[in-house]
Symmetry: C2
DNA sequence: ATGAAAGCGCTAACAG
DNA sequence: CTGTTAGCGCTTTCAT
């Protein structure tokens, strides 16, 4: 068996073998329309027997929709995203959806190209970490495909969203530094687009504590280890009195720690590495797997005909 | 523009607008068959003008092949794979292929299901880190879809392969430990299938050095940080004289380091974390991005009609 | 060099 | 409850 060239088993073969029309076969396998239980059983048995697999192309041609979910993200090699992706994969598999990944480097042109590819492929739905694309384009995508945006406001009332509560996470981190006795703080902000919440909340909390010149205590750097090292030195050069630093993400935090400035650092994300460093990193934990899982859940409910939802996941400070 | 419900631009619309038949449009956009340069130019201009995008479904229905590449891997959250995946994504995008990721947890049933999904989807090609699937099934997949296996021997003369030279990497690591004065070594082997080379080479090198009871100095543990901690304690309980440990991968190595046994440890893979630990981890570096890129390159040559190739990438010991 | 005809495998709409 | 009819949009013959 399974030798030589392959001949496809079609819905007509099943219909013939089961002694019914192909429409009945279609109904039996898709569970649509009314069929007698006996007929359905017989058809399903025949499908099994012939090892029939419906053609995704033919089906897509009729329905204009593939059994595919698109996942748009900036960089799978950035330690934040693999955990999210895992949650997406697991939840998608549970719904029988395959996942097409589009890596964009947070580049506007790449994100736009991804939206084009998603529409062309007739994806059943899309989940996206869009960092550079404008709301209008996102909205346009949402009109063509059920869409859930991650960690970004929905561009209109048709697009669902799931986000982590950055203000809450940031507030917990900064208050923790104050509570630990650090009276003068700095922040390493990530040089990324569309992520203003952490910086904004940092400034707010500093103002509440009567900290002098909050805005002057923020430096922006690429969200990498090297960026963190350079950034913290810059910060301390300008404000030697700083003893506590809040970083936009863990990579920046790790870089800051490695700079040898002796300051206390709190990171954001809780990537795997954070717990394994010596000393380990205190950071704001976001449940990345849960984020991925929730994104698919929200998309799934949309596919099932429910209106767009907007979920907010609560981060939690992990003191190490 | 772009408001209201969407009407698809078809090949017939282009044909009509350009004043040619639809075959001519097909020929112009696919570069197949003979067309006068003037006609082609005109058709291409019309395509541009109408923003025509061929239907992937209709095309797939005729050709039984999608513009999609399947990537099968055990766990995207395992730090080894995101870097490989990035290489795959970049190289695939350069060839205009979308990537569908199948996460298997190295489970035989999941790997088999992935092969089914790949065939059903009519993927243009497949790249796989198959850990549990038998050669016969792999061979069957290779008969249906151009296939490249990663870090595993090709099951037959139709399946291409790309692998890292594990024996060379292992030898470098173990010789390094001996050269550093460690006369008694242990190994933390990963409890995974189909990856015997590292253990085998470890045993070989110990034998060459006249080390007593090589096989007795290997313990097997889950390839995780926790596995490494437990494994190294087990190793030292049985052989307190061990001062150097070779680990199947970096996660095991990190776990071994954290056990506080004070032994020298060499890891394998050089995941991002390895360089950031304090002290940093000496490990066998494999270029994961390059592996991903090469997998696509080898697949691409296969798609272009070349015979299956077998590439071996050289790892290199990174002393830290 | 171009066009006409045929059909890939499926499901929505309509009969019965 | 089940069958018939009619395409979805494209590429592959085969003519011309």
């Amino acid at each position: 068996m399974d030798s030589g060239s392959f001949v496809r088993v079609t819905i007509d073969d099943v219909a013939r073998a089961a002694g019914v029309s192909r429409q009945t076969v279609s109904r039996a396998m898709n569970g649509k329309g009314d069929i007698s239980a006996a007929t359905r059983r017989k058809v399903l048995a025949t499908i099994e027997e012939l090892d029939y697999r419906p053609s995704a192309f033919a089906r897509g041609m009729r329905t204009q929709r593939a059994g595919t979910l698109a996942l748009v993200l900036p960089d799978i090699a950035n330690p934040f995203f693999p955990a999210v992706a895992r949650g997406v994969f697991d939840a998608a598999a549970a719904r029988g959806l395959a996942v097409v990944v589009h890596n964009t480097d947070a580049d506007a042109a790449a994100e736009a190209e991804a939206t084009r590819a998603i529409v062309d492929a007739g994806a059943a739905g899309a989940i996206g970490f869009f960092e550079a694309l404008d709301d209008a384009s996102l909205s346009a995508l949402g009109r063509r495909v059920p869409l859930v945006v991650a960690d970004r406001p929905s561009p209109d009332d048709q697009v669902a969203s799931v986000r982590s509560d950055f203000p809450a996470g940031t507030r917990a981190a900064v208050e923790h530094l104050f509570a630990a006795g650090h009276a003068r703080l700095g922040m390493l902000d990530g040089a990324v687009q569309n992520k203003p919440e952490r910086r904004r909340t940092f400034l707010e909390v500093l103002t509440e504590h009567g900290h002098p010149d909050p805005a002057g205590h923020v430096v922006t750097a690429p969200p990498t280890v090297a960026g963190g090292t350079a950034g913290v030195r810059d910060l301390r050069a300008r404000h030697p009195e700083i003893t506590g630093v809040f970083a936009f993400n863990d990579l920046l935090a790790i870089g800051a720690l490695r700079a040898g400035e002796g300051v206390a650092v709190v990171g954001y994300d809780d990537i795997m590495m954070a717990a394994l460093l010596d000393p380990p990193l205190t950071t704001v934990h976001t449940d990345k797997y849960e984020l991925g899982r929730t994104l698919v859940e929200v998309l799934g409910r949309r596919l099932d005909g429910h209106p767009p939802e907007h979920r907010v996941l609560a981060p939690r400070l992990t003191v190490r």
